[in-house]
Symmetry: C2
Subunit: 230 residues, 2 copies
C-alpha cells in the first residue's frame, strides 16, 4: 500500500500544500488520475476546494476530479490512481464518506495499489478511528471508526503549546485522556510540516519537526526523521 499522511496543508509563509508537493511528487510514480474528496470542507464550497487543490498541485500535471462532481462516486474511486482527501472537519468528512458508502471502496482502492494522500482530517480518516482529531464535533459521524489503512493513530497539527494565560487542556493532556480509556493505543503527535509515508510495506516518518509518540503511563518519546513505524 502507498499512503501519504500529512499533518497539515500549509506552513507559515508558504503556499498551500507547498511542503507536501515534493513528497507527493516522489510517491506518485506514473499515477495521474486523482479523485479528490472535499467533504471535510464545510465553510468553503466543494467546487472551490477542489479548484484550490488543483491549482496548488498544477506543477505535478495531475488529472484531478472532485468526487462530489462524479455521478457514481464509488466507481470513480474504483478507477482512480490516487485517492486524495483534504483537511477541514473530520466529523463532517467521516459522516459524508460513511453515508455515501465510500469507506470500503476507498479501502479497496488502496489495497489494489491506488495512492492515498490525506492531510489533517484526511490523515485522521486513514487511521483506525478519528479519536485523535482536534476538530469540533459539528455532526455525528455515526461511529468513530474510520478507514484503518494504517495501524497508527495520528494526532495532526500536533503542538503542546497553549495560548498564553489559557487554562484549557494541552494537547498532551487530551491524548493522555484517550490513553486512559484505551491504554494499549499508541498515539503519534505529528507536528505541522511532518508526514508519514507508507510504501513497500513500511511506514516512515518524514519532516524535520519533533514528532512525539505517546503511550499510556510512559513519558512521550521523540521520534527522529526517518523513524520506521513498521
Amino acid at each position: 500500500m502507498d499512503i501519504l499522511l500529512f499533518s497539515n496543508s500549509m506552513l507559515p509563509g508558504a503556499s498551500y500544500l507547498a511542503y507536501a508537493q515534493p513528497v507527493i511528487n516522489s510517491a506518485l510514480r506514473r499515477r495521474r488520475n486523482v479523485v479528490f474528496i472535499p467533504f471535510a470542507g464545510v465553510t468553503t464550497s466543494w467546487d472551490a476546494y477542489s479548484a484550490k487543490v488543483t491549482d496548488a498541485l498544477a506543477a505535478l500535471d495531475l488529472n484531478i476530479v472532485g468526487l462530489h462532481q462524479q455521478k457514481d462516486p464509488q466507481a470513480a474511486i474504483a478507477q482512480a490512481d490516487v485517492v486524495m482527501v483534504g483537511g477541514g472537519n473530520t466529523f463532517a468528512l467521516l459522516k459524508a464518506c460513511r453515508e455515501r458508502g465510500l469507506l470500503e471502496p476507498m479501502r479497496q482502492a488502496v489495497a489494489r495499489g491506488a495512492l492515498y494522500i490525506g492531510w489533517s482530517a484526511g490523515a485522521n480518516l486513514a487511521c483506525p478511528t478519528i479519536r485523535t482529531t482536534n476538530d469540533m464535533p459539528i455532526v455525528d459521524p455515526g461511529g468513530l471508526d474510520a478507514l484503518n489503512l494504517v495501524p497508527l493513530q495520528i494526532n495532526p497539527h500536533f503542538t503542546n503549546a497553549l495560548p498564553q494565560g489559557h487554562q484549557g487542556e494541552t494537547r498532551e493532556q487530551r491524548i493522555r485522556e484517550l490513553l486512559a480509556v484505551d491504554p494499549l493505543l499508541e498515539v503519534i503527535g505529528l507536528p505541522e510540516g511532518n508526514w508519514i509515508a507508507v510504501s513497500d510495506g513500511q511506514a516512515r516518518l518524514g519532516g524535520a519537526n519533533p514528532t512525539l509518540l505517546f503511550r499510556a503511563a510512559q513519558p512521550a518519546v521523540t521520534l527522529a526523521n526517518g523513524h520506521r513505524f513498521y
Copy 2:
C-alpha cells in the same frame, strides 16, 4: 430553573474553583445536599476528583457526595438539592451519563428546583448538544444530544488565540464550521473566568472577560457583563 454554567474551573494564579465560589454561594440559597458527577474525569480517579471538589468548596459548608459512590445513582440525583458536574472530557461525561440512564433524572431534578452547576464539560452537558466542546472524541457518546437545560450552545474555554506559528483552525473557524452545517444556531464563546447564570426564568452573563456571540454569516458580537440571553 436555577443553573450555573462556568467556562472553566481555575484561572491563572488562582486556586481550583476560586472564581466560581462566590457565584455558587449566591445561588445556593438553602441548598446543601450536593451530588457531584465526576464522569468527565478520565486521567484522575473519580474518588480523587470528588475529594478535590469537596476540598475546594469546603468554605460553603456543603454535603457533597460523589455519584459514582451511590448504590442508586438515579435516586441520588432525585434527592439532591444540587447537581454538580465537573469538567474533563465531554464525550466521556455524556457517554457515562447516557449509559447509566442519568440524563432524564438530571433534567427532572433541575425541573423540580435542584441547582445545576457545571463547568467546562459540565457546562457543555447542559446545552442542547455537545457540538461546541473542544475535547477529543476519546469515546463515542452514543449521540451528541445532551441535557438541553438551556436553549444556549456554549463553547467553554473560548479563546481565538493560537500558539505562535500554529496553522490549525482558530476557535472561531471551528465554530463557523458548526454554523455552516446548522445556520440557525447561536454559539456563545464563553471565555475562561465567565459564566452564565439562570434564575427566575432569566439567563444572564457573568464575568468581566469579553464573551462573543456567533451567528451564521454575521460578525461575532461582544456581549457585556450582565447581558440577558432570555
